[in-house]
Amino acid sequence: MAWRIGVDIGGTFTDVALIDEASGQIGVVKVLTTPHDLAEGVVAGLSRALAEHAADPAGVALLSHATTVVTNALLEKKGAKAGFVATRGFRDVLELRRSSRADLYDLFQDAPSVLVPRRWRFEVTERIDAEGRVATPLDEADLDRVIAAIRALELDTVAVSLLFSFLNDAHERRVGLRLRQELPGVGVFLSSEILPEIREFERASTTAVCAYVGPLLASYLGRLETAAAALGLPAWHVMGSSGGVVDIAEALRMPALAIESGPAAGVVAAALAGEDLGIADLISFDMGGTTAKASLIAGGEIAVTAEYEVGGAGHLKRWLAGTGHPVRVPVIDLAEVSAGGGSIAWVDPGGALRVGPQSAGAAPGPAAYGAGGTEPTVSDADVVLGYLDREALLAGALPIDLAAAERATGDRIARPLGLDLIEAAAKIVEIVNNSMAQALRIVSLERGHDPREFTLVAFGGAGPVHAAALADELQIPEIVVPPAPGAFSALGLVTADLKRDYARTFYAEIAGLDPARLAAILAEMEANAAAMLTAAKIPPGRQALLRAADLRYRRQAYELTVPMAAGPVTRASLDALAAAFHDRHRQTYGHANPGEPVQLVNIRLTALGRLKRPSLRQQAGPARAPRQRRVWFAGSGLVACPVLWRDGLSVDAAIPGPAIVEATDSTIVVPPSWIATVAAGGYIRLRRT
């Protein structure tokens, strides 16, 4: 049997998902995340997964990983000591940005943060002009001084972004060569290797982001490589920010690709759920231990933005454009709030109840987990209210300490606020739900989409616990809970295609372009891409190379990407490409200028290793007898509530609320005004009655 394995590390749990390529059969293992060395949890999870499913490591076809290392390093400002080398007169480009401010009217807005402080920004005398010619030769003595300074300051990495290096990279390559030779321990990132595209600030920013996170990502992936090799597993792949997986070499060449890797995996999985069920308009909602994330899938398409900024400032829980660091790689569009099962509830000095942003994480974890946690968390409130089992979770593997949950909630919240225990827990849940509703609003309402026309796909360990309350808040009519919701993002990892994007800047007017020149470049790019896919063991029948061209009218500043036909490049195929551009321009913007010359700016090639898309199937475990416990609901208070075990429920079974449906990795809360139905493939659908 050929298995694919995905590993998703959350703040609390490390999830391992397996899928059998032939049958679609899935398996899931959850272990606690090990923050002191994440690889430890990964090895534990992998070993258990291989053992439980009797999987032969040699038969694993794909081992894939979603990492939050890059995003976290930027948010927590824990990246490398990175230097920056610019053309003389331009070392401040990272700080001068585009000179517009993030918020028009916010008097107290912060200055955008800069990854490279001014003391570590250097200049070398050199200049390439707008035609790509050398206007001022590179001053090697200047470079001597910069190298000496970087050595003296003991910088970890250096980003180099010289003006017009996308037209002529000779100076940048020379600077790179000398830095690499003379500073062997220092990671060197050249803008002409990272993102050979026009616009000096955006190119420099993307390069600086790579230099800032590169060392962390390299040491982290290195540890994982060692661990996987010891288990006899194949080389890792990493989920990229736009929802395809890339190999490690590509991730290290361009660490910015690993931004939002974890959330991307979840959204890919949500899109797969939509495909399985024939639902095109979805809001993906992923609530884990530390954060909750929302994304929109409209008409089956995952929303992706090309203008992503990483590590920005939260403003009413939304990331403000202009405060983070632009990266010119496509990134799944998402809203994220610090709200999860582990979020700590506290009373602020003004006497107001707050939840988060601190999280108890994996250690010590919620008080109810009995691992030494004393702060009340959202999961503790869920236990007190009866949503979560009061005895054990994870099919008995995680005993619950009800007394500890009650003590934490009582001592820290109920008593100081003069509430009873249930009231205190209910308030905690209300507050965390409000903050998550905001994330859902950002991706739907704020972008002009009416949430009443969407289906909520709820996953993450805590997602299905809170989904119905959120759907009530936003009047979302239906919820889908997928199989293995607690490890659903990890499933996204094993269902995504292998994907790598290649681009080459090539300025030419289509009318005067010699087809043979373009054909030669394409042939070279395609040979590279095919070799990469073959090396990744993708059989020829599943390889796809998709050509595209970024085109514009000569005087425009932005291009439209137009697909380019496969096969020989001829005058006729170029004319067809220009015609397709006029059409696309008309469709996109409502007008076209057919008399205007069309300019080619970038040639793009996407290499896809299409993996077989299995339909998910979850092996049902043994059925368990229904139980009953008292559960609190808004509007009805504590009521006697049936508790069903998810395994063993028959397809089409209808479960009217109030009810709790428990499974190994997650709990579904069905409030009184909702009804749950069991669908094929392990899905459960909830509708309001």
Binding site: S99, D110, A557, Y589
Partner: protein, 572 residues
Amino acid sequence: MLDVAAAPARRPKTDPARFAVVKNALASAAEEMKIVLAKTAYSPLLKVAGDYSCGLFDAAGNMVAQGPDLPIHLGSMPDAVRAVVARFPEILPGDAFIHNDPYHGGSHLPDVNVVMPAFYGERLLGFGCVRAHWPDVGSATPGSYGAVTEIYGEGLRLPPVRLYRDGRPDPDIEALIFANVRTPAERRGDLAAQVAANRRGVERLAELAGRYGADELVQIMDEVLDYSETMMRAALRTLPDGEAHFADVFDGDGIIAPGAEADEPFTVRLAVRKRGDAITIDFTGSDRAVPGPMNAPLTVTASGVYCALKMIADPKSLIPPNSGCWRPVTVTAPKGSVVNAEAPAPVVYANHEMSHRVADMVMAAMFALSPHTVMAASQGTSAVVTFGGLDPRRGERYVSYESLKGGFGARPTKDGINAVASTISNMMNTPVEILEMSFPLRVEEYALVPDSGGAGAWRGGLGVRRVWRVLDHEAHAAVCCERSLVPPFGLAGGRPGAPMRLKLELPDGTTRPLNSKGAFQIPAGGRLVLEAPGSGGYGPPAERNPALLREDVVDGYVSEEGARREYGREPD
């Protein structure tokens, strides 16, 4: 302005969820208009620098939603739409109108408004309006920024005229326009982009009417205005009542009188009267109109007031900016004064130079009433630079327009921000690589200026230096700057920022200082050097946290000498 005492008659309110959906859909439609414009326009000023605003308006011309654009257009965009409503009693589907007349709701001639009605069937729902700054609208100076003494010399003046009928352009009007501007092919692309952006906006309005019904949409558009008004009044109520005054001196109008060596400064005065949930800004006592183009139509003056009040009353930026916001605000100025221009006074500079300064002046006056919700003076100028001539690389005419961003004022609890657009402005810089590929110019430096931020407990934001070399041709250049005479003020004991500085370096090595406004020639190989002002500091320099000062010195924001001179401290 609306009478506060008269309570508007209320219909039953729309359900809150639907209100929120439609309110946000209107805002995102305005944002979409902006994207269409940026992605299809031809001139760098629009496509990369973003000198434009997009809005959706009700049938009476009230602005219901503005894209995340330029606060400078807050005051006068509604008047631009009202001018169309007033002039054309019969508006039909497929129409589009164009105008740029500051005396008919425009701001200055380079800002060209394209207004398009939105219909659902026969029903007029409202309008889209796209105001875009054209890099050239004729006149004697490429870039249309010459120092002239009548609006007739400032370029092509278009009163509201019908540009499209039945969805097709009127070839006669287009021919008239393109015969009067430099680089007509580029303008043609920009105009097509303005029409396309409007189409996107009016399509979105029609879709919303289709989904929710035209009546309900129009009612919600009304409620959006009321919503902003209610929130603005509540915000104003939280500020202390009282009256305060401020006066400031301007560099001049760009016209150097015969026999004089320098531009003649003039003064603007304002009084703020705040009571309850309403506020009046009165410019009585300001100087009379000046001969050169520093005269502001009242709507331009009002834009500066609105922007400052929004920042002061709503510092967390929660109130949607639309016409409802300004109902509690009254702006008055004597007719014929420099802040309430009458035809045919020239106006081109005042648009940004006056509104920048007015915004800072409102902050200074409000400091007396509410010192913790204002900031020290920002750069106070758009620091505009235009170049034009014949591009030797292509043999085509070109016009380049840029605006340089200096310091954003220091706040009561924070430093200012270095080199970023402040108050009424939010234009972006033109990337050096795009500029040089478009025009025969080379930028040789673009860098922060050490010691340019006003000293204070909270330091002012640094100004920026930009140096252009003219390549292989003689260029016609013009500048339009302020704050070269009186630098941006500090507050609460903070010191002023560095003033605007300008000079021309000729190929023979000689250097010539420049007046802050006006046109001149630059020979091939000559360099223009501009330093946009830093902003004022807040609080006494002696109260600066020593650790912050030390960091500033290590990073070179403050020099060691600056630390000694301005802060009286020896850097360690």
